[in-house]
């Protein structure tokens, strides 16, 4: 690890001020991703500003019936929070499918949103990687890309966003609140928080330098009865998804009145399946319709040399997640 200075701000303002003063500063949440990347020499912050203990640790109910979750609350505490479990079981289920209990205990919600890709070229500093070293090329484009994107990639970067939580947040239509250096806060839908790589793959998201994530906001409770997070992976825990699907259904008199559907492991951001959602809305919750939704979901996919398997896997995963969501009660 390279030498760095360490700050423990007493409040949010001190954190923001410290970040404003040092271009190489980074916020430190649970450190489960950042410290790993520092040991690998991928991240080289000159200052760490510990934010995990800042008082954004609550879960509060909003006037519209939705909830706001503090960004510094741990993944474990969030997933097991009684009102999250009952109102947003899709989110709980998804978060508990991530990493390991130990990592979830350390990880903060803010840090979780910002976890970086698992692309092996990104991790190995002697390899070309536009995300880590802009302009050096994309090693994965014509290399080992079996776990890379099938949607929304560019020649500059074919990496996926690896996390689980944000997939459920996408299906639920959540938004992210960030605090700027000048003291102003902004709230943006999660789909605008993440971005596609385009020709700036070094930017995972639309966060501006020094901005601090303070909260996640969920709209009024959705899918308390019919929900499922399907995560296909190489082993039963402690592995990232090859493909994952967060599915939520609202049923009214035997037809589907509302659908939330998003995929992980397929793009540079959690991939919302808007067309499949539209297809299912107003339809009967039948196996045929769920299977068709799977086909629609993958219609626009563009596989790379080694990840064509994600197409059938994605199709089946969408259909299965919907079947499971429907069957659940």
């Amino acid at each position: 690890m390279r030498p760095f200075t360490y700050r423990y701000p007493r409040d949010q303002r001190e954190a923001l001020t410290a970040a404003a003063a040092e271009a190489g500063a980074k916020y430190l949440g649970g450190g489960t991703n950042l410290l790993d990347l520092m040991k690998e020499d991928v991240e080289r912050p000159t200052m760490l500003i510990e934010v995990a203990d800042l008082p954004h640790q609550q879960v509060t109910r909003n006037a519209d019936g939705g909830f706001t979750i503090g960004a510094m609350l741990s993944n474990s505490a969030t997933a097991n929070y009684p009102e999250i479990r009952t109102n947003y079981p899709l989110l709980s289920m998804t978060m508990l499918a991530a990493a390991t209990a130990q990592i979830r205990n350390m990880a903060t919600n803010g840090g979780n949103l910002l976890q970086r890709t698992r692309c092996p070229y990104f991790y190995e500093t002697s390899m070309p990687c536009n995300k880590r070293a802009p302009g050096s090329g994309c090693g994965a484009l014509n290399g080992m890309n079996d776990n890379h994107a099938v949607f929304g990639w560019s020649e500059a970067c074919v990496a996926t966003y690896p996390g689980d939580m944000a997939v459920a947040l996408t299906a639920l239509g959540a938004s992210v609140t960030v605090q700027g250096l000048d003291g102003t806060a902004r709230t943006l839908p999660i789909s605008d928080f993440y971005r596609l790589p385009g020709d700036e793959p070094e930017r995972d998201n639309t966060l501006q330098p020094g901005e601090l994530i303070t909260a996640l906001t969920l709209p009024a409770p959705a899918f308390p009865a019919h929900y499922y997070y399907l995560k296909i992976r190489e082993r039963s825990s402690y592995a990232y998804a090859l493909v994952s699907v967060a599915a939520g259904l609202q049923l009214d008199n035997g037809t589907i009145s509302q659908v939330g559907l998003a995929m992980g492991g397929v793009a540079h951001k959690p991939w919302r399946l808007t067309e499949a959602e539209a297809f299912l809305t107003g339809k009967a919750p039948s196996e045929e319709n769920f299977a068709e939704a799977g086909v629609i979901a993958m219609r626009e996919a563009r596989p790379l040399e080694h990840n064509e398997y994600k197409l059938p896997m994605g199709e089946k995963a969408v259909a299965r997640a919907l079947v499971q969501a429907y069957a659940r009660n």
Binding site: P3, P120, M144, R235, S237, Y238, A239, M313, A319
Partner: protein, 724 residues
């Protein structure tokens, strides 16, 4: 009153357990050696070429940095005595001797600093320039370079072609196993002291005596000037059999700096610098009569070694001897690639070879429409067909039969893909296993002391405990032969100052060490009886010490394999059963149940033995589920570089596990009737699971690991009628 002794065969808890759980058991990097400094290896970032320049200036300027060692200032070491030497556990291990780079991650330097953090940081600041060449890291393009590594590489009896010609049914299929890594929990580590021309090293090694040999050849000093200690080793799986280059670099640094140097290999370096199990392509040719009688068995293995050393895994070992077939042909070929030298990993040859053999037999059984168990029983033999010697004991058929009974084999789905449970397809699989039970001469010293009217004993041997339970079984052995309770016995291991022992490897440990201790105890008792004039009498050690007016007494003993053993083939045998549930759509599957039946001689301690087998089953399951090291085809590096990418099984992946040991004492193998179990436990596990996957789905998985991707993209075998 008769005391509770707890001899061999009793399921006692580990005698060293409390030391381990309280952190008192010291592993190599934990010794508080005074004045020690830290070394950190620098790894090459090309897979083939030469170093053209090294700039150490900035690294050397950092606080705490004491030295940067590269080939430019490294001492000249003793080298190999031939080109492409076949490496063993005692060969020299020269490091940092020249500018050539043979593989990605090879050590090109060592930074030594006051703290580990300083050393690690300074490594980033050493600038190494290379003239890179295109590496050879894949099989394609290298096939022409395949060569026969030694006379031992090939074996044949009868006439394979003739055997195939007379078969009613035959198959010719290729099975692939990927590069795997040992990854014991404890990182490789050493703390080396060099004083007055003598080396003293705490090192995480499986064989301390052979470490001394390697160091003597490498540093060209007498063996008597070298001491290696490894009282506790946190697993090895073969990777700690030989003395790897971090040990050499640490000693080199200790010489240069005049202070003890600690080098702990990082987890990422455990991929590049401490051996690996190579990728194997195994072509199986089987021929059989309608009734299952094998008429021919051919097993050709193609794998790789490095460009500077040779290591060959004998994948064909099991295919020579497990089944009676008159026509048998085994070959092994190697291609030199720009990857590090492979080295023995748990059941080298058997773990991988049995995947090919036991999968192929399952395919043959399917073709012949025979029960795979019947096919194996049909070809059972009590004589080793590879050398004509009788097996000392071979209850292989019993393993299969008892396992079938216990597992409920009769209930298996007869047609692949025919059993559904909701979204799951259910399948059963079986495989047979055998593993040689080698034996190595081993010595021990036993010292008695009388204290407060009670006799205590101390047992010392150069043997190691790599987490397997050596401390415990040796305490049990001494308790039994001395007739004193296990609590009064102290065992000391892993020091070259103790009587010679081969150390842990090849599943010879339990048999060899225990017999060594047995002979030491018997010698001690004989001497005491003789002195007391009580030859042949059954008297307690306490009485003998008192009779001789002795407060302490010690003796040594050595046990070799008997003459009789030479006339037999000595193996452990087993059978594995697995039940898998495969999701009908998504590529996911679960192993629901595993059963291992083993006939492995006398089980010294059912508890530690059980640990060995479930460890083997877990590793075998890992071979199927996910374990593989992936090589980047353009750059030649491993893209699996941590436990986040190299997937070993987690608890949730593992099934309900049952282990049965058949009661056995093989007195031909050795006087105590012990055989090896550590490697038997992994052998053929992968095949039992792959066979179960076929039974569930009708798909054959001839390449490991069986990832969700492979489940999804593999076609159902022709001829398997799906009943979905």
């Amino acid at each position: 009153m008769k005391k509770l002794i707890a001899g061999t065969g009793d399921a006692i808890s580990r005698v060293e357990g409390p030391l381990k759980v309280t952190g008192m058991a010291k592993y190599a990097s934990e010794f508080p050696v005074e004045n020690k400094v830290y070394g950190q290896g620098i790894n090459s970032t090309i897979a083939r070429g030469r170093i053209t320049a090294i700039d150490t200036a900035e690294a050397l300027r950092q606080p705490g940095v004491l030295e940067v060692i590269t080939y430019q200032n490294a001492e000249q070491l003793g080298g190999y005595d031939e080109e492409m030497p076949a490496i063993a556990t005692d060969t020299p291990m020269p490091a940092l001797q020249g500018p050539e780079v043979h593989y990605y991650g090879e050590y090109v330097g060592l930074v030594v600093a006051e703290t580990l953090e300083q050393a690690q940081y300074a490594c980033r600041l050493v600038k190494v320039d290379y003239a890179a060449e295109e590496p050879n890291v894949g099989f394609e393009g290298a096939r022409d370079s395949a060569y026969k590594p030694s006379e031992r590489s090939d074996y044949s009896r009868g006439d394979l072609a003739a055997g195939l010609a007379e078969a009613d049914e035959q198959l010719d299929l290729t099975y692939i196993t990927p590069i795997e890594h040992h990854h014991p929990m404890e990182l490789h580590a050493v703390i080396a002291t060099y004083e007055n021309g003598k080396i003293d090293a705490y090192a995480s090694q499986q064989m301390v005596e052979n470490s001394v040999k390697t160091l003597a050849k490498t540093f060209q000093i007498p063996e008597s000037d070298i001491r290696v200690r490894a009282p506790f080793v946190g697993g090895g799986f073969g990777s700690k059999l030989n003395t790897e280059r971090h040990v050499i670099m640490a000693i080199m640094a200790a010489k240069m700096i005049g202070r003890p140097v600690q080098v702990t290999v990082t987890r990422t370096q455990m991929f590049t610098n401490t051996g690996l199990r190579q990728r194997n392509e195994q072509r199986m040719r089987l021929g059989a009569k309608k009734d299952g009688t094998l008429t021919a068995l051919g097993h050709d293995t193609l794998s790789h070694t490095s460009t500077y050393e040779q290591y060959q895994e004998q994948c064909g070992t099991v295919s020579k001897m497990l089944y009676a077939t008159p026509n048998n042909q085994i070959t092994h070929r190697l291609m030199p690639l720009n990857l590090q030298t492979p080295f023995a990993m748990r059941a080298p040859g058997e773990a991988t070879g049995s995947f090919a053999l036991e999968s192929a037999l399952d395919e043959l059984a399917w073709k012949l429409q025979l029960d795979p168990i019947d096919l194996r029983i049909k070809n059972d033999t009590q004589v080793d067909p590879s050398n004509g010697k009788p097996f000392s004991s071979r209850p292989f058929v019993e393993c299969l039969r008892i396992g079938a009974e216990q597992f409920g084999w009769a209930d298996r789905p007869l047609r692949p893909g025919s059993r559904r449970e909701g979204n799951w397809l259910v399948g059963y699989g079986v495989s047979g296993a055998s593993r040689a039970s080698p034996y190595q001469e081993s010595s021990a010293r036993v010292e008695l002391s009388l204290d407060g009217g009670e006799v205590y004993a101390k047992v010392q041997t150069g043997a190691t405990d790599i987490g397997t339970g050596t401390y415990t079984i040796l305490a049990q052995t001494a308790a039994e032969y001395l007739g004193i309770p296990v609590e009064r016995i102290t065992v000391e291991l892993g020091d070259t100052k103790f009587p010679d022992s081969p150390g842990s490897g090849g599943s010879w440990g339990a048999a060899s060490f225990s017999n060594g201790v047995r002979v030491a105890c018997q010698n001690l008792l004989d001497e005491l009886r003789q002195r007391a004039g009580k030859e042949g009498q059954d008297v307690s050690v306490e009485t003998l010490l008192l009779d001789n007016e002795l407060a302490t007494f010690a003796a040594e003993g050595t046990a070799s394999r008997s003459e009789e053993a030479q006339d037999y083939s000595i193996y452990s045998f087993g059978a594995n059963f697995a039940e898998v549930w495969v999701d009908k759509d998504t590529g996911m599957y679960r192993i629901k149940r595993m059963l291992n039946v083993g006939a492995a001689g006398k089980i010294l301690n059912p508890k530690t033995a059980y640990g060995q087998i479930i460890g083997g089953l877990t590793m075998g399951a890992g071979m199927v589920i996910a374990e593989q090291t992936k090589v980047e085809p353009n750059f030649g590096n491993f893209i699996t570089r941590s436990f986040a990418d190299y997937h070993v099984p987690v608890n949730l992946d593992l099934a309900e596990i049952d282990v049965i040991f058949l009661p056995e004492e093989d007195k031909i193998a050795n006087a105590m009737g012990i055989k090896g179990i550590g490697e038997l436990g992994i052998t053929s596990v992968a095949a039992s699971i792959a066979n179960a996957l076929f039974n569930a789905t009708g798909k054959r998985f001839r390449e490991l690991p069986v990832t969700p991707e492979r489940v999804l993209t593999t076609e159902v075998e022709a001829g398997v009628l799906q009943s979905r």
